[in-house]
Amino acid sequence: MSFFGFDTTLPRDRVSSEKRGIFETPDPFAEVARAGTQPQDDDDAIDFEDTYDGLGDQLDEDQDAFNDDTFGDGLDSGPVGKDFDFFGRTAQVADAIGEEQVRYSLQQPKRPPVVPSESMMENKETIATSTATSKPKRTGYERYQDPGFIPDLQAKSSVWGYTQKPTEQAPQPASQAKKMLSLEEVEAQLREQTAQPPPSHAVSLPPQVPDPSLPFQQPPQMPPLPEGFSQFPPQFLQAQLAKGVPPGQLMPPQPTMPEPFPIPTHAPSTMPLHALQNANLPPQHMDPPPQRLPGAPRVQRVPQQPPPPNNLPVITDPQQLMHLTEEQRIAYLVEDAKRAKRNHKIFLLSKGNGLMTPQDKNFITRIQLQQLVAAAGNVADSDSEAVLSEDFYYQVYSQIRGAPRQHPHQPLGHFAQTYLLQTGNRMGGHRRQLQSADNHMQRMQQQVQRAVEAAKLKPKNKQLIIEGSLGKISFSNAKTPKPMLNIKRPDSSEGFKGPKKSHADLSLSDRKSILTNIENVYNTLMEMEDMERTMPPPPDENNAEAIQNHMEWRQKTRSLSQRLWSELKVMEPIVPNATAPHPFIAFLSYPKGKKAIPRIFRHIDQEQRVTILTMIVVHLDTLDVVRRALPVPAHGPPTVSVREAIDLFSQAVMPSLLGYINEAPFNIIIGLLGLVIAQTHVQMVAKTRIGLGILTMFLSRAEIVKEAGQASEQDWKQWVEKFNMLFDTLEPIFADIFPGSINAGDDMYVWQFLAAVGIGASPEQQQRLVIAVK
C-alpha cells in the first residue's frame, strides 16, 4: 500500500503486506513500537476519504485474475485484504500519504507487469509459474488452491516470526521519522529513490513462490538497502539484516542459492524447534535454514532467525534436496522438524528412566496402600491425638456415625471392612515391622484383591454419597449413562408454600427460640463428643492422679449430660390444648432437630430414651411428619418438603426409637400403645407413614416377646385388650391407610403394618382384616 510509509522502498515489505493471508494479522506490537517512536505523526487529523482510494469496494474476491486490469500492477495499490488496519496505518503515515501518491504515479510506468525472474524460475514447478502469472494479486485465499498447503505449519511459524519482530524494529525508528525534512530525512528520501528501481526487479520474485500465502514476517520498516542487494531473495536479506550483518558485508550470491548454510538435515538435532528462535544458538543445532530453499516457502518460517555465520561449513546434502520436487522437499523438511521435536521430547522424558527398581516401585505402592489402610483403621483408635489431628473430621464423623452401630455385628462401611477388618491392622505396628520385605509383594497383592472384592460389593446405586462428604458421586455405565443434566422441576410453588405454612403457625419469637434450643443442644452435644475423645485412660488403682483425672472427667460428663437433657426440654410440662406445640416436638420439626436425635441417643440413658419415646408417642398426631403428611384431598400428594421431612425422620429418628423398642420391656410397649390409643387420633395417625411405622414397631415387638415366651400372662392379657381396641378403631379405615397414589413400592410400609396386625390378630380378626382391606 502506498501509505505504508517506507515500505514502498523495500520489496519484501510490499510483499509482506500484500501477501498477508487471512490468518495473518498485522503484528500489534509493531504498531505500538512505531507509534511510540514517532508521536509527532499522530497529531494530524486524517479524513478517511483522504486515505482510502475506494478500490477496496470494487474488490471481488472471486475474480482476482483481472485485478491487474483494475488496479494497475496490483502490487502497490490493491487492497490488502480484509484485515487491513486502515486507521492504525494511516494515522502513522498521514503526512507521507501525499508524497507517496506523487511517488506512486512516478513509479507506475516503471513497474513492469509481474514476471517471474528467469533465474529464479529455473527450478520451479509449472504450478509456481502459473500461480505467479495468472494470479499476481493476493487475496489470501490462494493458499487453499495450493495442493501442498499445510495450514498448521503456517500457524506455528508465524508465531515464531512475531516473537522476533519487536526486537528488529526497535533500532529503526529513525528511518520512519521524516516529518520535518531534516537532513537525515532528505538523505533518507534520496536513498529511497535510489533504491526504488531495483525493487521493481525484486518485487517480481515473491510471486513465483508457489505458495502465495507465504507469510513473510518482515517488518515493513527495514532500512532501505543499498543498491545491488535487491537481487537477494528478500527474506535472505532481511534475515541477514535482522542479525545485524551490515549490508556491505553481504556479497550478492546467485539468486537461486543465495548462501549455503550449514544444515544438519540428515541429523535431526535434539533441540526443540522453538529453540530455533534463539539467535545465539550454535549453528549445528539449527534446523535447515530456509534461505537455501527459496522454492519451499512454507518451511520458511525459519528465515526469521538469523543465519549462521557465512564461514561455517556448507550443508552436506542441500543439492539432493534441491533435486527433489517441491512437495517432497516440503514433506521432508516437515518430517524432519517433527522428528527433531519428538526426539527431544523423548530425551526429556527419559531422563529419569531406570532410577527406580521394580522393588522400589513395589515399596512405594505398598506405602500408599498402607496409608489407605491406616486411614480406615483408625476408627478403632480414635482417642489418639495424632490420629485426630491428622484426620479430624473423619474421626469425629465416624464416631458420631457409630451411634446406630451399637452392636459390633453391624456391618462397617465397605471401605473400613476392606481395609480394617481383614488386614489385621489392629494387631499393631510391631508385628508389621517383623515382617520381611519379601512379604510386601504378597501383602500388596492381598490388599489389591480385597480392594477388588470391595469394589464388587459396592452398592449398585446410581449415586454414592461418600461418608462425611457433602457431594454425591454418580456412577455411569453403558446401560445407565451418567445424567449430565439434573434439572429439578420447580415444585409448582407448592414446595415452597409447605414449609412456610408450617412456620406460620409458630410466631417468630417461637421459631427463634426453638432454633436457639437446637443450637444449644448441638453445642452441648459437641462438647460431650469432645469429652469422649479426651477421656483419660482407665485409671490405675495405684495412680492417684489418674484416678483424680478420671473422676473429674466423669463429673464433667455428667454435668454435660444433665445440661443436654434440660436443653432438650423433654420434661417441659405438657400443656393440653396449647396453641404452640411442645418444645421438644417443635425441636423435632426442624431437620437439624431430627438429625440430632441419633447423636443424642448415644449420650442418654434408657430412662431418658423411654421418656423421649413417650413424648413422641403422646404427640404423635402433632408431630410435623404426621400432621403435614396427612393426605389432603384438595392438595393432592404431599409436597416435596414434607416427603423429605418424612424420609429424614424415618432415617434419623426411627432407627433410634426402634433400637430402644427392640430392647424395651413388654409393659412399656403396652403402655405406649395405650398412650397412642388414648392420647392421639389413631385413625389420623394410621394414615401416615410415620404413624404406621411406629405402630408396626409396637406390634412386631409384642409379637417377638410373645414368641420368646417372655410375656407374663397378665401382660399379655393387657396387650390383647389394647390390641383389640386398636383393631376396632382402625377397622373402618383399613382401606384408607394406603397412600393416595397406588404406586408399587410406595405402600410397602402399609403392607408391613397389615402383616404385623395380621400376625397378632385372632382368626376372626384376620378375617375381618382381609375383608376390610379388600
Binding site: L470, G471, P499, H503, L515, N520, N523, E527
Partner: protein, 96 residues
C-alpha cells in the same frame, strides 16, 4: 471450661450467632452485583463465607433499550452446592 459453658448457655452473644440459628435452614443471601441466593445454609464463618445447598441464584440485569428505558431482567440459576465468598455478601436472612 468456663468459656465453653458460657458459649453453651448464652447462645446469642454476637451477630453471627443469629446466622447460626439458620444453619441447615433455607436462607436468603443478598450479594453484591445485584445477585440473590436462596438456599440451605450448610456452613458459614466469621468472614461470612457461606456454603449453601440447593441454591437458587437470581441475577438482576438492567437493560436499556433504544428509548433509554430501563427494563430489569432476572436470570435464575439452580446450583446443587455453592461456596460464596464472604466479601460479596450483603445480608443473610432466614427465609421465614
Amino acid at each position: 471450661m468456663a468459656d465453653t459453658e458460657d458459649v453453651g448457655t448464652s447462645s446469642v452473644s454476637e451477630p453471627l450467632d443469629l446466622v447460626r440459628l439458620s444453619l441447615d435452614e433455607v436462607v436468603f443471601v443478598k450479594l453484591r452485583g445485584d445477585r440473590e441466593l436462596k438456599g440451605r445454609l450448610h456452613a458459614y464463618d466469621s468472614h461470612c463465607n457461606v456454603v449453601l445447598g440447593d441454591v437458587e441464584e437470581t441475577v438482576y440485569i438492567v437493560e436499556e433499550d433504544e428509548n433509554g428505558e430501563e427494563t430489569i431482567k432476572t436470570l435464575k440459576k439452580q446450583e446443587e452446592m455453592l461456596f460464596v465468598r464472604g466479601d460479596s455478601v450483603v445480608l443473610i436472612s432466614p427465609q421465614a
